[in-house]
Symmetry: C3
Subunit: 165 residues, 3 copies
């Protein structure tokens, strides 16, 4: 077993065995050559917080500031990040190949007066940094609030991840 | 006449003769070299659903879940995609040069209880896949709900498209 | 003193001395090689409208269409752009190295009936074009409305900027 996946398992987290079933006519990831020779950029589609590790598993639903607290939102954001890493593993073959979490954009389904979107998204960002360390895991990020998200989820996260070929 | 444009015409769709007039101080597309030699990445600005094929043509307006159904939202998303292809044609000279629809991000102006953003955006994604086939047309995507969009449109879509130089 | 920074100073604007303190577990910018040899792409995280030039300075707060006018929103968008340039200067060492403002995505915290997001974001876009001229400063852009943003700010802007190494 490789290092990163062992680490994730030691954290008590089970990675999805394959990318989630797309919710529409799109693909969960798309690989493009990186400008850095020998590396690939993975454009990861918006991922939702999936409770189970099966590809069609149940989603966390709710609205932060209404039916969910900021902490519950952060837990959902972490599930988005877990789902993203399942997809990156499927795309790259092995999470030890990850060279950089480049960019993360996260949307939080919340009430008009909830203003702690960064706290919610830290659920994902903390996980990436814990798994890969700061040098690889620290990323540029935008945190956005919104009035509603697909299938009533509280968080949706997309990413760009660089990996060795 | 080239293959892709003939195919679009056979679908009964007329491409805009040039990119839409920007709604602010920006440009409708920006070309950057692709990491793949001989190819170009086109960053396509957020495009709105335009009813007519003229650059300053009328827009579809409305809010999904309120004044528009999901199906009407999907029809508007398709118009965004048509407008995007008009812009890509202007940028690349010829749609046969498209090598990959890389990434699509779509925002749906909708009520707080409308949760079928993926269905709405399929109006655009289905069109891309129908026109280019899955190998070129299938893309990574994020579908986001929001409380309002510019000029009261129901959908706004941006994209990254790769083309041969 | 270099040309671009002198120009900004002549406009009566003081650039932040360093990137803003991140509002969560992320980094304000991430550099990646550009496909164009000798150039670097800077992925700039979502930046908020900061009143002061200190890294932890006060933010503009409010909601466009409610507590702020479109003009006040545009002034806030300009502050986001100023903050972004402070970050780009920190990343690149010198704003004269900027070769292209590639892409801007801006979110406007606004009421459901406010539809002039492009006007608000022109506060940032006009500034980029004024500072760098059209050839370098004109960019692809998406303008999105939303019901709420982190820390109650009226505008959040992220960008991709290309610079000479």
């Amino acid at each position: 077993m490789v290092h990163i996946e062992a680490k994730i398992k030691d954290m008590g987290i089970e990675l999805p065995i394959r990318p989630p079933n797309p919710k529409g006519n799109y693909i969960p990831f798309l690989k493009q050559p990186s400008p850095t020779k020998g590396r690939t950029l993975i454009y990861v589609a918006g991922h939702l917080p999936q409770l189970s590790t099966s590809a069609g598993g149940a989603l966390v639903t709710g609205r932060v500031g209404e039916t969910l607290t900021a902490e519950e939102g952060a837990a959902a954001a972490k599930l988005c990040a877990v789902s993203i890493l399942g997809t990156v593993r499927a795309a790259a073959g092995d999470l030890d190949k990850v060279t950089k979490i480049v960019k993360v954009v996260g949307f939080v389904n919340c009430t008009d007066d909830f203003i702690s979107q960064p706290q919610v998204l830290n659920g994902a960002s903390d996980f990436f940094v814990e798994v890969f360390g700061r040098e690889i895991g620290a990323h540029a990020r935008s945190a956005i609030g919104t009035n509603v998200l697909p299938l009533e989820v509280p968080v949706e996260i997309e990413a760009i991840v660089e990996v060795d070929e």
